[in-house]
Symmetry: C2
Subunit: 153 residues, 2 copies
Amino acid sequence: MTHDHEHEGEEHRQALLDKYMTERGLKTTRQRTLIMETFFQSGGHQSVEEVWARVRKTDTRVSVATVYRTMKLLAESGLAHARDFGDGQTRYEAALGRHHHDHLICTNCKKIIEFENDRIEALQDVVARRHGFKVNSHKMELYGLCRDCQRLS
Amino acid sequence: MTHDHEHEGEEHRQALLDKYMTERGLKTTRQRTLIMETFFQSGGHQSVEEVWARVRKTDTRVSVATVYRTMKLLAESGLAHARDFGDGQTRYEAALGRHHHDHLICTNCKKIIEFENDRIEALQDVVARRHGFKVNSHKMELYGLCRDCQRLS
DNA sequence: CTCAGTGCAAAGTCTTTGCACGATT
DNA sequence: AATCGTGCAAAGACTTTGCACTGAG
């Protein structure tokens, strides 16, 4: 159930990014390259602080501000999704070569499990249509205890 | 499509609240009473600032800090739900006498429409079970354009 | 009378921004 | 050379908290 296509989009990603940046006259800098590589290599749902921490292992001089700016850029370009799991910080997730999915979040150990369910997506469309809505995106999060944490409590 | 049972729980609410407060030695103050009444009379998804603004029409001396503290109390007692629609502030919604529901959010005019869908809820349970999760709560938000805003754009 | 609640301002988080300097195109 | 990007620190937005005073039980 892992996403085998997670890596196949690497050149595609680079191409899209190049296009996006050229189109708006953005520049490829040492910092941006490092931040993006770090982010895409790590996977998961990363906060800016987390990305920054990893980036600093390679280059201490990069500032948080730049990480904030670069992650926002990735989100705007569509290469990453910004998520808010209610813990007070924005988390980013790689976007390309992945199906849309939602999240199961363990309120105890903070583990995040991803899942896809086409039938739910279909029903969402039905609901939206019923209300005359044109849905662009959605989020669905189920909060509870994962298997391991149920056992312990 | 309005919720007729929205008002029937008023004494029930008071009873629950009294119980909750007595149990933990909390005191009934002028401010708390005013804040709660204001909140429950207004309905919708209110931010602390909004509640505060309304409260101040009656009593200018109430501080935001107290509204923050009181809304948190309401959420902890189960009389209100804290929601985060990604606009950077927590919004509160009356909880009692209402079915669980989810939200359609217009990204243009910020209108929020509530809906219920039992089939989606059922499918969520299936997904959770499949992953060994015991779900306590969930949220689902569909973002897009409402009928009116589609027409205008 | 005692302990919880309140107001106020200060402090905390996370995030954005203004500005002078530095780097890319 | 012309712009865009970066670092830094300051500023913002929202929320919490320490403290002395007030008030409910």
